[in-house]
Subunit: 217 residues, 2 copies
């Protein structure tokens, strides 16, 4: 049998298949808290509970494309850097049927996000105030948080939570929230010194010394 013949006779529907979905954990920092995008479900299962934005994987899109589409449809955001987190395959994740979920996460600066205020839309919720979520979405968020906490130390991901121009106290606050600990000012500055570029601008208006505005190098 040639490969052509083989492929012609192959019928993939001979086997029962799980469904495949993508779940998105979109994080931001707002009001000095780590927040994550959630949407109230309007269908069963878990009606009226909060859940991560999600969608089934289409036959004509890669996983990355699917993640981008899900995010765009839920928020209008485009060209966000999404990174794959983990793939969840517990059998009873979803009471409807077997669904395997490929999770992604992303970080976006608060300032960049313009969500409509309607009840139907997805909204940000502080991760520390989240109670019960639909499916295993709490686990996904915890896993994403963990990943961020690790990556912040050897990558530049913290910068993706900050606008193009920022002050060092602002940036330090981001680190402190993600790491969940206070940092020494002087040490923090030494550590990120080679990643930033000073501008001529200063941010004043507070009743103390103005802080210099920086850009990412």
């Amino acid at each position: 049998m040639t490969e052509q013949e083989f492929l012609k006779n192959y019928n993939s529907s001979d086997y029962e298949k799980p469904s495949v979905a993508v779940d998105i954990a979109l994080f931001t920092i707002r009001d000095n808290q780590l927040q994550v995008l959630l949407k109230k479900r309007n269908t069963h299962p878990f009606v009226n509970m909060l859940a991560l934005p999600a969608t089934f994987v289409g036959m004509d899109e890669t996983l990355d494309e699917c993640a981008q589409r899900a995010l765009y449809q839920k928020t209008g955001l485009q060209n966000i850097y999404l990174e794959q987190l983990y793939t969840w395959g517990e059998i009873d994740r979803d009471p409807r049927m077997r669904i395997i979920s490929v999770s992604y996460y992303a970080l976006v600066p608060d300032s960049q996000i313009q969500l409509s205020e309607s009840e139907q839309e997805a909204k940000f919720y502080p991760v520390d105030e989240i109670k019960t979520l639909a499916f295993d979405h709490e686990k996904i968020i915890a896993y994403g948080r963990e990943r961020i906490r690790n990556k912040i130390n050897y990558t530049d991901i913290a910068f993706s939570l900050v606008p193009e121009e920022f002050t060092l106290p602002q940036l330090q606050k981001i680190y402190e929230i993600l790491l969940n600990q206070k940092l020494y000012k002087a040490n923090f500055r030494k550590k990120i010194a080679d990643k930033i570029q000073p501008t001529e601008k200063m941010l004043s208006g507070n009743k103390h010394r103005p802080s210099r505005i920086y850009k990412k190098k």
Copy 2:
């Protein structure tokens, strides 16, 4: 509509679904080389080419269970620590149909492996001598190698490539192969000093000073 009614009417076969498979990259060190388990394919597509052990995900098993099963069926190995690597979702990964692959990797000491020598069986091949593999399996191996290279520095995974009792020169060799660089003997020993336990045994027989045998702490 109640949740019960909803679930009863829900028919998951209304949508076309991708297939889901698990690919296993099982690494060992043999003949002072990093080697990976491969099996010659005896069906289309990619007949007669080498590929990672793989299997489709059954409806009644989790991804982790599926990975354990695939490894057991191919090698007889059981209770190996398998870690999820990445999930691959390119559309044309497989010419038959859309297959999403969840990849896993594991490390096993050479001494622990007893594979039958038949042509049908999976065998180890040095990763540096691998040419073309079926599907995107070269990418998976490269990704696994990268993960190992990172994890070796902040975890104990290197110990899973070594038998229960080992000498420090043996262990150092493992590190050097995984990291692909020569290490200073004295520095290496300081780094792992808190992870090992000396025994009373020595390994002699070579024409130089015998080396002490250690166990993992």
